[in-house]
Amino acid sequence: MIFKYNKLGVGFYKLLVLCCLTAFASLTSKGQNIGIGASGLYNFQTEGWGVGARLSINPNNRLSFVPQFSYYLPSNKVNEYYAGLSIEYKLYLAKKFHLYALMHGAYNSWLNYESSPMEDAQANNWNLEFGGGLTTNGCWRPFIEYRYNMNFKETHLQVGIMYILGCGSRSSHGICPAYH
C-alpha cells in the first residue's frame, strides 16, 4: 500500500498526540493505568539495531493500547523509524508474568531507502505487525517481544523494561490490582 506522507503522516501524529493526551489524562486521574517503557530492538533480516519508547494504556487490563516509537540507528544498513500503536491482548495470566499477543500498526519513515537494492523502496510506508510477548506483573516489567512485519516480511526482537506509573504507592502495595 502506498500512502501519501502528508495525509497519513499528519493523521498519524494527530493520533499519537491524542493517545498521549489520553494517557496523561488517565495518569492524572488514576494510578497504574499508564506504563512507560524503553526497549532495544534487533531486526533479523536487515540486521539492524534500534531503540524504542512506549506508553502502555491500561497495562493491567486484558486489552492494552501501546503507542510506541522505534528508531533504527544510522549505523545500520536500514535507517528508519516507526511510529505506531499496538493492541496487546493478554492470553495467559500467571501470578508473576503474563503472555500476550499483539497487533501493531505503524507509520514507517525509511530514511535511507535510496541506498536499498529493493526495487520498490520508498520513504513512506505503512506497516502491520503481528507478534507476541512475555512480561512480568510487577511495577518494573521487563518484556520481550517477537514480531513479524507483514509489509517488509521481516521479524524483529524487542527487549525492554516498562515502569507502571503509580505502582508501589500505598493504595497499590506494589502489586498491580488487576492481578490480585
Binding site: Q45, Y92, A101, P117, Y148, F152, T155
Partner: protein, 298 residues
C-alpha cells in the same frame, strides 16, 4: 484448560510467524535469475539431408574387368561368385552394390562417422562403405574370394592400415593389422568383410580432453565435433566431453544445433591443446550455405 488453549494459540501464532518466509530484500541484492537455457531440437533430420549420397550400382553381368567406380574415385572389384545370402545361398544377377565415400571432413561430419578407434583419434585418408544387396537382402562375402578396393590418394602413406567399422552409433574402427598397398592410384587392399572400410594409422597417444559447457544452451541435442587438420580425422563428442587428444595438436572444434523452428546455430573455436580445456559454447545463428562453406573449408 483455558490456560493451555491460550498457550497453544500463542505457539501456533509464533510458529506461523516463523514459517512465513522472511526476506532480506531491503539489504541484499536480489539473486539474479539465470536466463533459461535454450533447448535445441534433434539435428538428425538436418544431418540426414546433408549426407553425401549413397551410390547404387546394379550389376547385371560381369563380362568385363572394369571395377565399379564411385564419384570420388573409389574403385571396387567385386564378383557375384564372392557373394552369398546370409543363409549361404548363391547369388544370381542382377545384384546391387551400394557405396558411400567419405573423403572430406564435411562428409564424415554429416554422416557422423568419426575416425575414432577405441576412443583414440585416427590419422585418416578416407572412409568408404561397400555393401551388396539382392532383392533387398544384404549379402555377405562367402569366403571364397575377397573384394578389392582402391581408394584414390595422390600421396599415399605406406603405414596406413586397413580398419573395419564395427558396431553403430558410433562405429568403432578396428585395425585388421594389415597395411594398405600403396599404388600410383592411391591405396589398395583386399577386404574380407563388406561394410565400413577406413584408411588409418594411430597418431600420438591422446592426453588432454575438452569439456563443453554452455551458459545459454542445453547441449544435449547439440552435435559437437573436433577436426584435426594434421590428421584429417574427425572426433565426435558425446556427453560434452571429448576423448583424449594428443598434446600440442591444433584442432578446430565446432558445434551444430537446430531449434524447433529448424533454424541453424553453430559455434566454432580453433585452438591448440596443451592441457585439459573447458569450452563455453555460445551458439550463434547461421545459414545453411554459411555453415556448409565453413565445413568445406576445414
Amino acid at each position: 484448560m483455558k490456560k493451555y488453549s491460550a498457550l497453544s494459540l500463542v505457539m501456533v501464532l509464533f510458529s506461523s510467524l516463523l514459517i512465513v518466509a522472511c526476506k532480506k530484500d531491503r539489504i541484499e541484492e536480489p539473486e539474479e535469475q539465470p536466463e533459461a537455457k535454450t533447448e535445441y531440437a534433434s539435428a538428425d533430420e538436418y544431418f540426414d539431408s546433408k549426407k553425401t549420397e549413397e551410390q547404387e550400382f546394379v550389376i547385371e553381368n560381369e563380362d568385363g574387368t572394369d571395377p565399379i567406380t564411385g564419384k570420388e574415385g573409389t574403385k571396387i572389384y567385386i564378383s557375384k561368385n564372392c557373394l552369398e545370402f546370409p543363409n549361404g545361398d548363391t547369388v544370381g544377377f542382377p545384384y546391387t552394390v551400394k557405396l558411400v565415400e567419405l573423403y572430406k571432413p564435411i562428409d564424415m561430419v554429416f554422416w557422423e562417422m568419426p575416425t575414432v578407434s577405441n576412443s583414440k583419434i585416427l590419422d585418416t585418408d578416407g572412409e568408404v562403405r561397400v555393401r551388396a544387396f539382392k532383392d533387398g537382402t544384404e549379402l555377405q562375402l562367402n569366403g571364397n574370394c575377397p573384394v578389392k578396393v582402391e581408394l584414390p590418394n595422390t600421396n599415399p602413406d605406406p603405414k596406413m592400415e586397413v580398419y573395419l567399422g564395427e558396431g553403430s552409433d558410433p562405429v568403432n574402427w578396428v585395425s585388421t593389422n594389415t597395411n594398405f598397398d600403396t599404388t600410383y592410384f592411391g591405396y589398395s587392399a583386399n577386404i574380407n568383410k563388406l561394410g565400413w572400410i577406413n584408411v588409418d594409422k594411430l597418431p600420438d597417444p591422446g592426453v588432454h580432453t575438452i569439456t563443453y559447457e554452455s551458459d545459454s544452451a542445453i547441449l544435449t541435442n547439440v552435435k559437437i565435433f573436433i577436426y584435426f587438420p594434421s590428421l584429417g580425422g574427425v572426433m565426435q563428442v558425446y556427453d560434452q566431453e571429448s576423448y583424449l587428444i594428443p598434446d600440442a595438436y591444433s584442432i578446430k572444434t565446432f558445434c551444430i544445433a537446430v531449434d524447433a523452428s529448424k533454424n541453424l546455430f553453430y559455434f566454432n573455436s580453433d585452438l591448440t591443446i596443451s592441457s585439459d580445456v573447458t569450452l563455453n559454447v555460445l551458439l550463434s545463428p547461421v545459414t545453411d550455405p554459411d555453415l556448409t562453406t565453413y565445413l568445406n573449408g576445414l
